[in-house]
């Protein structure tokens, strides 16, 4: 490069100034790029990263396929269950909604590996924060996990620091820095060239890797990326570059400030280990200190107390004040099923009027009470969950100190695998439960005969009437009607459907904006710092 420099005209014509400056910049960039590309670390790092990207994606996509399959099975099981609903209690007593695996989860698993994809609820129970239901084997939590973001965060992060640590100090040690500065080369051009050359190298490793990863991903039939997914993907790639650039600049600043590149490397490696590898452990520890949550056992105890209170009420009231009227078992037919010890039935095919009325009274007294207690228990749980959220928000806020973890926040937000995505799903499921309860009320299917029987009240007959029929031979059998198994299922076509669509891109972007802005700002600040430090640096070797 020195011959080129010497070829330059000694004085700049004003019109040519920018062109030559651009030319200089390009020369420096090219030089840095070539130096990097021909280096040992590039060859080793490039090969390692490509192998990692491809291997990780192959495994992650297979895993994604499994999860999609499991999700499909669960959804079809649930819809089969809906097809067999014969009385409204079947619906009220238990439903599940499912969250499809995030389409970009192979890129960033985020919280998808922690939380389940199922929210189960009933009239008597609101969906709760549940862990590990998406995984067939929840014990796998004992092992570490891997996704592409981890590869970028850790491995590419390390590679960037390895490239950056001698960007300036290395040249100083070799004496080439003094040589470059002896020409008419402005320092900021040198710095910018150095930065561009380094970033081009890193981008080459990253983009080739992500290209291979995407090739593997789109080859799979299960991975169906829509327009918005590509947009998210583009943003993830962009944010990744911003992250890598911040690390590179950090490396350059350290390199300028350190006399020897070995020192710079040691400092950067310790930075890497503290701020990238062990940092989230520290922030969660600190967050648990700042915002402690009550012991889980206390919450469980409160819930258990409420439950006990409810059951004591049932025991004392139902059994004592609502004695079952005299009845004959032969007049009762069709799955007389009780909900545990609850004083009202789940399904009842046929019964005399007295029994029916008695059952309805039990239902009227206790089902609203049960819903009330469910809501009270849910309040306890929701209060606890709020505290968990506050703690997690504190940890997330603290994590922003490290570029690697604001990067993680941003990517998981964009991929739709952050904790927010799960809690939104949970909130939607809670809302859906209320919708279903409303639907049941609108169908008069909750606190009425329809909850447990298909027999119309106009057809109820008293025991005395039935006894008369019994004497007329077949008439009783006709009256009592069909067997439960042949009762047709209810028409649930107007049941509200659950909307499981992930948050739109705009919401996701708004959510991750603080993290992205922070990263961009960090880039600017570090570049400025690099510039200031480099202007004052002594370019001579061995100073």
């Amino acid at each position: 490069m020195s011959p080129k420099l010497s070829n330059r005209p000694p004085k700049h014509a004003n019109a040519n100034f920018w062109r030559t400056e651009k030319a200089m910049l390009w020369t420096i960039t090219k030089k840095q790029l070539l130096v990097n590309l021909l280096s040992y670390r590039f060859v080793v790092g490039f090969v390692l990263c490509q192998v990692l990207f491809v291997l990780a994606t192959v495994i992650l996509v297979r895993d994604y396929e499994e999860r999609v399959k499991a999700h499909g099975e669960a959804v079809s099981r649930e819809s089969k269950k809906l097809d067999e609903v014969k009385v409204y209690s079947d619906l009220a007593r238990g439903m599940s909604v499912y969250k499809p695996p995030a389409r970009l989860s192979p890129i960033c698993m985020g919280f998808d590996k922690t939380f389940g994809n199922q929210a189960a609820f009933a009239y008597s129970r609101a969906p709760e924060l549940e862990v590990g239901r998406q995984e067939k084997n929840a014990l796998l939590v004992a092992l570490r996990s891997l996704d592409l973001v981890t590869v970028i965060q850790l491995v590419l992060g390390l590679l960037v620091l390895l490239f950056a640590h001698d960007a300036v100090s290395g040249e100083r040690e070799r004496g080439t820095l003094a040589l470059s500065m002896s020409g008419p080369l402005p320092r900021h051009i040198f710095l910018l060239g150095q930065y561009l050359g380094g970033m081009l190298t890193i981008s080459a490793v990253f983009l080739v890797g992500i290209f291979f990863a995407l090739l593997v991903m789109i080859r799979s039939a299960s991975v169906q990326l829509g327009g918005s997914d590509w947009l998210r993907l583009g943003l993830i790639i962009l944010v990744s570059l911003v992250y890598l650039s911040a690390l590179y600049l950090l490396g350059v600043v350290t390199s300028i400030l350190s006399k020897r590149s070995a020192t710079a490397l040691v400092i950067l490696l310790f930075f890497w280990i503290v701020f990238i590898v062990i940092f989230p452990n520290l922030t969660s520890a600190v967050a648990s200190k700042i915002k402690p949550v009550p012991a889980r056992g206390l919450v469980a105890q409160q819930t258990a107390n409420l439950r006990r209170e409810f059951w004591t009420g049932i025991d004392q009231n139902a059994r004592k004040t609502l004695p079952r009227p005299a009845h004959k078992w032969e007049f009762i037919a069709g799955r007389y099923v009780y909900g545990g010890d609850l004083p009202y039935p789940i399904r009842l095919g046929y019964a005399p009027r007295e029994i029916m009325e008695w059952e309805l009274e039990g239902l009227q007294r206790f089902l609203p009470l049960e819903i009330e207690y469910a809501n009270r228990m849910h309040e306890v749980q929701a209060g606890y969950e709020r505290q968990l959220h506050e703690q997690a928000a504190t940890a997330r806020f603290l994590a922003r100190i490290s570029p690697a973890w604001s990067y993680f926040n941003a990517v998981s937000g964009l991929a739709g695998t952050d904790a927010e995505a799960y809690t939104t799903f949970l909130a939607k499921a809670r809302n859906y439960r209320l919708q279903v309860l409303n639907y049941l009320s609108s169908k008069d299917g909750l606190v009425s005969y329809r909850y447990f029987t298909r027999l119309e009240p106009s057809r109820f007959r008293t025991t005395a009437e039935l006894e008369l029929l019994q004497k007329q031979g077949d008439r009783l059998k006709q009256e009592m009607g069909k067997d439960w198994d042949s009762v047709p299922p209810l028409d649930l076509r107007d049941l509200p459907t659950f909307d499981h669509a992930p948050a739109p891109v705009a919401t996701a972007v708004a959510g991750v904006l603080p993290d992205v802005v922070l990263l961009v700002f960090l880039n600017l600040a570090l570049f400025l710092a690099a510039h200031v430090c480099f202007l004052r640096t002594d370019v001579r070797a061995g100073g």
């Binding site: 922690t114 862990v131 590990g132 891997l146 491995v155 310790f270 969660s284 012991a295 968990l388």
Partner: protein
């Protein structure tokens, strides 16, 4: 001479930036994690005690009222105790299931009584095995990776070898000095950490525990030694200290992060579990067959369909057989789940970090090892309950006696004291070593092989 060389090596590194940073980091981490652990353990223990006493209350209330409630309809809750040595190797203790609902016929679960905050994300606790496994192994490579070629570059290697010192001795001193340097922060950190823990008075440590701590220290040294030798090997193989540093760092990332992380997901894909619903159906079938078999062998007019639990008017023998048949299927499935995790661990043994981690977990008896032992003990406890019921049941076990039910309920009195109770026992250090011996042996073997390779290369090394 060897002591001179050793002194030189140690002094040369002792005041270097990397060692100072490493000292500060390791000691700070060990101290911080001990402090955090004490608080955490206290909270967990009070949670555990609360839940255990709640269960005891439930049992003592029901013991006199109804034999069916206690042995068949109701469920006691039994809990895994928090591990007092979680600061050594935590192994995601808190995220693993920690309780079962149990009676004489059923072991239901495993359940979580969630102790951590899942919204914080999945992070390993900063236990000591994490500090050693990740931070100190990193420092080991950092120190060793320019041990030979760095000296060559500076020219000091020639100087040393010009003295009448055997090459083997030079190599051994290099190795020993690095090991000593690594041991210093480990020892200081451990002593300070243990002081924090014992001074708090909240974590009682017994003889077993000290043996476990000692064993972990031993394995930690074995593990760190692998990285020291690896660093020396690379530094003998590669000419440029920069190159050997880069290669060793990238190798470190693969060994410490990539292999253990990839192992989990690979295990999940290679060792597929059957579907949960298929298993429940299979269990139901097994249950039904056992009931039918019994009904054929002991025909009786009251041999109805079985209620699914042992209820008044049902044969005890039949309920026991049915539960056993069902258990065989369900327990097998649960074992497969543990097996999948174990398989993941096997895969991670391709890296010394995996070997070290599983050895540390085995010896501490925490993480998945703890869970496994808890499951074993829970099953044994269910067996005990069943045997207790069978031996103290003074009525005909094969033929149900609908009329005599009141007599059974009234005549079957159990005292709370005589009822077997569940208390989880932690694994002993001997049991731990029985599991860890292979991991430790493999670590030692890797050491020997790498050292032999380094030695062979160093003997012929061109010091110029």
């Amino acid at each position: 001479m060897i002591s001179d060389l050793l002194k030189k090596e140690i002094l040369e590194h002792l005041l270097s930036l990397r060692l100072i940073l490493a000292f500060v980091l390791v000691i700070a981490l060990m101290l911080a994690s001990s402090g955090l652990f004490v608080k955490d353990y206290e909270a967990q223990l009070s949670d555990y005690n609360l839940q255990v006493s709640e269960n005891a209350e439930y049992v003592s209330k029901n013991v006199s009222s109804n034999v069916f409630e206690l042995f068949s309809w109701g469920r006691q809750k039994i809990y895994r105790r928090p591990h007092p040595l979680g600061f050594l190797a935590e192994g995601r203790e808190k995220d693993l299931p920690n309780s079962f609902r149990v009676n004489a016929f059923r072991l239901q679960g495993p359940d979580y009584s969630l102790r951590g905050n899942p919204l914080l994300g999945e992070f390993e606790f900063l236990d000591w095995s994490f500090t050693v496994g990740i931070v100190l192994s990193f420092v080991a490579l950092l120190l060793a990776s320019d041990g030979v070629n760095g000296e060559k570059q500076r020219g000091t290697l020639r100087l040393i070898l010009s003295n009448p010192v055997p090459r083997a001795r030079v190599l051994i001193t290099k190795y020993l000095s690095t090991m000593i340097l690594l041991t210093i922060p480990l020892v200081i950190g451990s002593i300070l950490g243990l002081l924090v823990i014992t001074a708090s008075g909240r974590v009682p440590l017994g003889g077993q525990d000290w043996a476990k701590i000692g064993s972990i220290a031993l394995i930690s040294l074995l593990y760190l030694s692998v990285f020291v030798v690896l660093g020396l090997l690379l530094s003998t193989t590669l000419k440029d200290p920069q190159a050997s540093l880069v290669v060793s760092l990238l190798l470190w990332v693969v060994l410490i992060i990539v292999i253990p992380s990839g192992a989990a997901i690979t295990a999940k894909l290679l060792d597929q579990l059957p579907d949960q619903n298929a298993v429940s159906e299979q269990a139901d079938r097994a249950f039904g067959e056992a009931v039918e078999n019994h009904n054929r062998r002991y025909p009786h007019k009251d041999n109805w369909v079985m209620s699914g639990q042992w209820s008044p008017g049902e044969s005890l023998e039949r309920a026991v057989r049915a539960a056993e048949a069902e258990d065989r299927v369900l327990f097998d499935y649960d074992d497969q789940k543990v097996g999948q995790v174990r398989f993941g661990q096997e895969l991670s043994r391709f890296s010394p970090a995996g070997l070290y981690q599983s050895a540390a977990l085995s010896i501490t008896g925490s993480g998945i090892v703890h869970y496994e032992s808890f499951v074993r003990q829970s099953r044994r406890y269910r067996e005990e309950l069943k045997r207790f019921l069978e031996t103290s049941y003074a009525f005909d076990k094969n033929y149900p006696n609908r009329e005599g039910q009141d007599q059974i309920s009234r005549g079957f009195k159990i005292s709370y004291a005589s009822l077997p109770k569940f208390e989880e026992q932690l694994l002993s250090v001997q049991e731990g070593w029985a599991n860890a011996i292979w991991d430790a042996g493999l670590l030692a073997l890797i050491n020997v092989i790498l050292f032999a390779a380094t030695w062979a290369l160093f003997v012929r090394y061109d010091a110029r």
